[in-house]
């Protein structure tokens, strides 16, 4: 009998084996995905720091004259905040290490992003990646590879030089690609990204020496999305378990934002950030502090670290009975367990965190749009004791709670403030930036939700001018990234096909472009390829209304235009033929002078359009 062997594999090993999942299925697709992942990382970094993006993409062949597929060096440079040099190895050398696993709209799709591209480059060319980032006027350059089996970075070289005015981040990946086959997609991607990011400068230097440039047309950056609590309907058992886990073992790391919050609530901007100072300040204002800041301050005090180091640790476990706390230092991934000192109120606070809230408090604290009233009614509905501590719920109770969340009908609609749509004005600017059209209109639908996930649909329409298409063309975006594949299967396509276009004076061959943009904390892609959106009835409804609204505007425009053109044509026809009629009949009638036909010229222009109905009117005479 054979025996199955069970073996744990690292995330990077997993993605190495299943790279098709992330879109790196062949050299042409991989080249496109690499550009895309790097650009989207750069745009996200700029957006979150309110920097007007300036992004340059360059694709250079390693050997110019060899045939595709061949090795290319893809370099993407941005003017974003860069990455703290110490973090570079982890950020780019470890799969699933990032800041995107949160409930807020962001571009990146898998959280794999650049690392996946680096991984692909390494397995096809075995060449290292180069990452340059700046901090305080210095440039830090890393040359590194991935240790795929252990999911860790391998630093080959590290240099520090003068930045010479450069600010931002630049990544160069060497990979096997096929530009010949992917160039259309890459160009489309750049153009469409320019459309949906009208406040960005984007340029592409391609391997054959062409340079495509899109300049920003506005300096307005849409407001960044807020990070918010989940909506109960959108929570499954696993998410719920994690939320409960957060409550009682605080297994979380604290980011830059938390540090700022601590500083703010403790009431001083330039404080000495040592553990003792924090302890003193926190004690003074303890009752006024928010729960999160209390927890953060407690960690600083009990681990005896500087506030600055808070973001470099992740608390893994707090073992109250044995008075021990375990944490990981992020830079080296080392695991530490130390004794927990009983310094109050910090110790007490951590204990209460570990035990967790009552179910009632848990509900009000962890979910958006759930206040004490709704929470109470919900808990009655779920048949759970509202005073029970969340940390003491059994497995079955957690499943029952999650199940009740799905079934409870009276939650308020999800909050859309976590979304960052472009807005009607910016979308219009974006469309005008890429298309020189006669008519452009945009609309933003009110926020809606499906299965507890909020979404906003934005749409645009452009007609005529330089647009040359022989059918209606659709440009699709989700969370400000273009979707380029599988257009035919997309819900927006379905909606477009169902519109009664002739009603809006739009023919099969009209030069019409439709833009659809869906923002959501979770875009309902139909497949793992994440290229097209499923036909959720709620989304369909918003798309349909958006498209109809725009089509009505277009119809009004076309009607006005058609009227003007008809008038012009009419005037032209009368002023052409009436003088001829006058000339010919003068001779036929043997008259001495031409008839006075001028009044008819004016009358002709006023004739109603309807009278020009049929080609020939037949009547029984």
């Amino acid at each position: 009998m054979s025996q199955a062997t069970f073996r744990e594999i690292s995330p990077s090993e997993f993605f190495y084996r299943n790279r098709d999942l992330a879109g790196f299925s062949n050299p042409s697709r991989a080249l496109y995905m690499t550009v895309r992942e790097l650009v989207e990382n750069s745009l996200d970094a700029c957006d979150h720091n309110k920097i007007l993006p300036h992004i340059t993409i360059s694709i250079k062949p390693v050997e110019k004259d060899s045939p595709d597929p061949k090795q290319y060096v893809v370099t993407v440079t941005d003017n974003g905040p860069g990455i703290t040099p110490d973090y570079v190895p982890m950020a780019f050398g470890k799969v699933l290490y990032g800041t995107k696993f949160t409930l807020r709209q962001a571009r990146g799709m898998f959280g794999l992003g650049a690392t996946m591209a680096i991984l692909y480059g390494q397995i096809t060319t075995n060449k290292p990646v180069t990452i340059k980032t700046t901090q305080n006027g210095k440039m830090y350059e890393y040359t590194m590879q991935l240790d795929i089996q252990r999911n860790r970075p391998l630093i080959l070289n590290k240099e520090k030089t003068d930045a010479n005015g450069f600010k931002g981040l630049s990544i160069s990946i060497t990979l096997e690609g096929d530009y010949g086959k992917s160039q259309n997609k890459i160009r489309d991607y750049v153009a469409q990204t320019a459309l949906i990011t009208p406040y960005a400068n984007i340029s592409l230097q391609d391997p054959v020496g062409n340079k495509i440039k899109f300049k920003r047309v506005t300096k307005v950056i849409p407001p960044p999305p807020l990070e918010i609590e989940p909506h109960p309907t959108g929570v499954d058992v696993e998410t719920l378990r994690r939320l409960i886990g957060h409550e009682y073992n605080t297994s979380q790391s604290f980011g830059q934002e938390m540090k700022e919050r601590v500083k703010k609530e403790l009431g001083a901007d330039r404080i000495n950030q040592s553990s003792d100072t924090i302890a003193d300040l926190a004690k003074k204002r303890w009752e006024k502090l928010t729960r999160a800041v209390k927890t953060a301050a407690s960690i600083v005090v009990l681990l005896d670290i500087n506030l600055d180091d808070l973001e470099k640790v992740r608390v893994d476990n707090i073992d109250v009975p044995n008075s021990k706390i375990s944490y990981i230092t992020l830079l080296d991934e080392n695991y530490h367990t130390i004794k927990l000192k009983k310094i109050n109120p910090f110790f007490k606070h951590l204990v209460s965190v570990v035990e967790g809230d009552t179910v009632l408090d848990f509900m009000t604290r962890n979910f958006q749009r759930v206040g004490p009233n709704i929470a109470k009614k919900f808990i009655d509905f779920a048949k759970i004791d509202s005073k029970k501590r969340i940390g003491t719920l059994s497995n079955n109770e957690i499943v029952a709670l999650a199940d009740a969340m799905q079934r409870y009908p009276a939650f308020l609609a999800p909050d859309a403030s976590c979304l960052s749509p472009l807005g009607e004005k910016l979308l219009e600017a974006g469309i005008r930036k890429v298309f020189n059209a006669e008519f452009v209109a945009t609309v933003q639908r009110p926020p809606s939700a499906y299965s507890g996930f909020p979404f906003i649909v934005e749409m645009g329409m452009a007609y005529g001018g330089d647009i040359k298409t022989d059918s209606i063309s659709l440009y699709r975006f989700a969370n400000r990234i273009p979707l380029l594949y599988d257009e035919g299967s997309d819900v927006a396509m379905k909606v477009i096909e169902e519109v009664d276009w002739p009603r809006y004076r739009v023919g099969q061959e009209s030069p019409l472009i439709i833009v659809s943009h869906i923002c959501s904390t979770r875009v309902p892609y139909k497949t793992v390829g994440k290229e097209y959106i499923a036909d959720r009835p709620e989304i369909e409804y918003e798309l349909r209304n958006g498209i109809r609204f725009l089509a009505r505007k277009l119809a009004a425009f076309l009607s006005k235009k058609g009227h003007l053109e008809m008038q012009k044509k009419r005037a032209g026809i009368y002023s052409k033929y009436l003088p001829m009629l006058a000339q010919f009949t003068t001779e036929l009638a043997k008259a001495k002078k031409e008839p006075n036909y001028k009044p008819l010229l004016k009358l002709g222009e006023e004739v109603e359009e309807g009278e020009g109905g049929s080609e020939e009117q037949e009547s029984q005479g």
Binding site: K569, R570, I573, Y574, Y577, L578, M580, L581, A582, F584, T585, T586, E587, L588, A589, K590, A591, P595, N596, Y597, P599, L600, L603, G604, V607, E611, G612, G613, S614, E615, E616, Q617, E618, S619, Q620, G621
Partner: protein, 364 residues
Amino acid sequence: MKKEKEVAKNKKAKVKELLKEFGTRVYRDLDNSVFPEVAIPSRSVSNIVYDKKLRQYVLGKAMLSRSAKNMRHLRPFTQLVWMAFFVNKLINQGKTSTLRDIYYSAQAFNMDFEDQPESDHTITDLEALLTMAREDFNVYPEERSSVFGDLTIEYTVPGYEGRRLNLSDHPDGYLIGPSLSTAEFVKTGAEMVIAVEKGGIFTRFVEEKVHKKFKAIIVDTAGQPPRSTRYLLKRLHDELDLDVFILADGDVYGEHIAMVIKSGSANAAHLRELTVPDAKWIGVWASDIQKYKLPTDPMTEADIKRCHELKKDPRYQSDIWQRELDLFLKMKRKSELEAFSKYGLTKITDDYLPEKLEMANSMD
């Protein structure tokens, strides 16, 4: 013959009058700030009926109105007025023109026709409006058939007035063009007209001296005869009192050539002077194919379809016409005039023609 000359002159005067009348009406409307309108008898298939009394197709009562007020009508309306204007010039200057020539002449007047069919269509409109044939407007088709035989004519065209010619002077025959169409008939020794469908048989007949043996004027219709040829046949019959016999291929199209000469075409249903109702179709009949054991070809699907169409046609309801169609459908075979060559080159003139002429004469 003097009388005929008067008729021709009166006709020209009538055309001029009609053109002036039409022009004046439009002129007045323009001058009075009224959009001019015109009603033309509709030539659509639904408006064509067979007049049993006249023994030809005529137009029904449906009219097509064109108004200068209607933006879509203005261009065709102007085209129609231009056409009247142009043929008026032709007539006044004693010039003739062809359909093709008119299409090109229009450009000089900045009158835009998309293609020749459009300009041809416009002249047909003018024909229908004034109930006159385009030959009356001095407009002739390009295609021409020929005539040969003992007939002396006198030209009326400018520069040739009074000149005479006998149509048997040239063995190739004479083209039936504008000059011949307008010429006057002076005298003839012929007693009948034989119209044949094709040039080969026409030449054979001249070589075999059919014109002498049968005292006949021979006309080559060159397939379906152009209007000028049908008009000539009519004149030969009406003015010289000659019988007209038609000899065409032994197929459904041959039968129809005979019918068009006799009863007119649907295309010219608005015109009255192109038919020879007394003309006789003498062959080749389907029954002749059997009787003379002619070599045959199978009928095509198109032939059979056409046959069924004609069977429903009101002109084809009398006995021989219907009978021969039935026989064609039964045999599903057809023959050409040349088929007689199987029995010698002169078989057609030696035996077939005399037998058929005798039969035709005995039928009356």
